[in-house]
Amino acid sequence: MIENGLKSGSNLEKVLKAGHFAFTGECGPPKGSNVEILKKKYEYLRDKVDSVNVTDNQTAVVRMSSMAASKIMLSDGIEPNFQMVCRDRNRLAMMSDILGAYVLGIKNMLCLSGDHQKFGNNPGSKNVYDLDSMQLIAMVKKMRDEGKFLNDEKIDVAPRMFIGAASNPFGNPHEFRVYRLANKIDAGADFVQTQCIYNMRRFRDFMKAVVDKGLSERAYILAGVTPMKSVGMAQYMARMVPGMDVPKELIKRLKGVEKKKQAEEGIKFAIEQINEFKEMPGVAGVHLMAIEWEHMVPEIAERAGVLPRPSF
């Protein structure tokens, strides 16, 4: 632990530790070296969120490196949640990048399995998966808390990361989701961001089990929100995105308004969700994934009543 009992001293950690309802955003690096695109995206998030997830070759499509984009953001005064997937790096590259990221000033890290490369635009690439997300979490914790590499060699200046993990409350087999979350927390997750939530009834049940098992006392759970832009998007998510639960009632609700008002209806639903999450036992914040809709984040944050963000 560093000063004040903080693990990394990141803004996100301070917000959560102080008991504020956290609000995080997301920014996918561009398919190229065009920094202006990156800047334009994250500028919408400035002062509206506590930290911003920087995705790591999401959907297995090559993009600007997550670490580089995180550093650019950091230098511009926005705190990144550096994402790392197990698909592209073996343990050597992972540990090396964790040290590098820390030296660059990155203090939050989200540890993920990553979408299989068959999904993306380089399906012929070799997959790595030397470690899985559980083992990656445990490794980052070991590096931070024990000051040791995976092979038990001592690290000269240990990287102090606030460790994040993902959780899908709706994945199958359903009974196992809380178990898997518990494993991730045992492994060392300090905060957890969930998959996009649309089925509030099922999420309430999930959170009840999380609270009953005392998991929300051991890690901060941030509920995932992605506003629907249209009926088409809702139908696509329901049919095409693995592990996504989009209830028929939500699709019906979006269909109930004329086409040009569907986006507004989607935002209204997201705001209702955020308001419920504020009151939901065990939920420590919201992770807003406004995919290619970053410019709507200020309005959503404003209308959801999460502004101004705390500053330290």
């Binding site: 993902a166 518990a182 592990g243």
Partner: protein
């Protein structure tokens, strides 16, 4: 067993396009069992190549033979007297065959007619599935007889990942999510607690990652 698929006729034709006389060499081992490189398949390939050549008005002479195994020098020796009367030899064994043959007969050219795929078994008539990747450190018993290293697309030891959907893997609806099956089996057998643990990273040195492997049984070495 080792499971393989035959290369396309076009690809094999291209390999032997300059040859006037070839030997097609089958194997009575795994590839006979998975109906891809045994005596029957050797005959089929020979006929197909002859027909294709006839169309191109370029006659080819083809002899057929099937060895007991192509992964054993003892059987490889059985073509010692004839190997050099052919322009080339097409092996219908797994990837081991053409290599053992090439090592024994450096002056001859051996072509692989098969693409060797995996260690597996037949799940129904005509369908074979992968069950093992030969990682060299078996942990199947921890997962109720289901190997996540071979059967999970990401070889993860703590699944299922977020991509598991209705029992299927995120890469395709035709691929079983083995982690879904493992968890369901653990639930049915009331052994879900087995999965409430964090396993250390796998040591891949025993797998292909540690470099080419050997197996030595001292008692047999002369």
């Amino acid at each position: 067993m080792i499971v393989a698929d035959r290369k396309s006729l076009n690809e094999i034709q291209e390999m032997v396009k300059e040859c006037k006389k070839i030997l097609i060499l089958g194997c009575k081992g795994c590839v006979t069992v998975c109906n891809v490189g045994g005596a029957k398949e050797v005959e089929i390939l020979a006929s197909s190549l002859k027909i294709a050549r006839k169309k191109d008005k370029k006659i080819i002479e083809i002899d057929c033979m099937t060895l007991e195994r192509q992964c054993d020098p003892e059987y490889i020796e059985q073509i010692r007297d004839v190997f050099d009367i052919y322009d080339s030899v097409v092996s219908m064994a797994c990837g081991v065959g053409p290599q053992f043959l090439s090592e024994a007969y450096p002056d001859q050219k051996f072509y692989p007619a098969l693409n060797t795929k995996f260690f597996g078994g037949a799940v129904q008539h005509g369908v074979w599935e992968e069950r093992c990747i030969g990682c060299g450190a078996c942990i199947i018993h921890m997962y109720d007889g289901l190997c996540p290293i071979a059967r999970c697309s990401k070889s993860i030891q703590h699944g299922p990942c977020g991509g598991s959907s209705d029992g299927n893997c995120e890469i395709s609806k035709d691929v079983e999510c083995i982690w879904d099956t493992i968890v369901k089996k653990k639930i049915e057998r009331e052994r879900l607690k087995d999965l409430r643990c964090i396993r250390p990273p796998k040591d891949w040195q025993t797998a292909r990652d540690g470099g080419p492997r050997k197996s030595i049984r001292e008692e047999l070495v002369q």
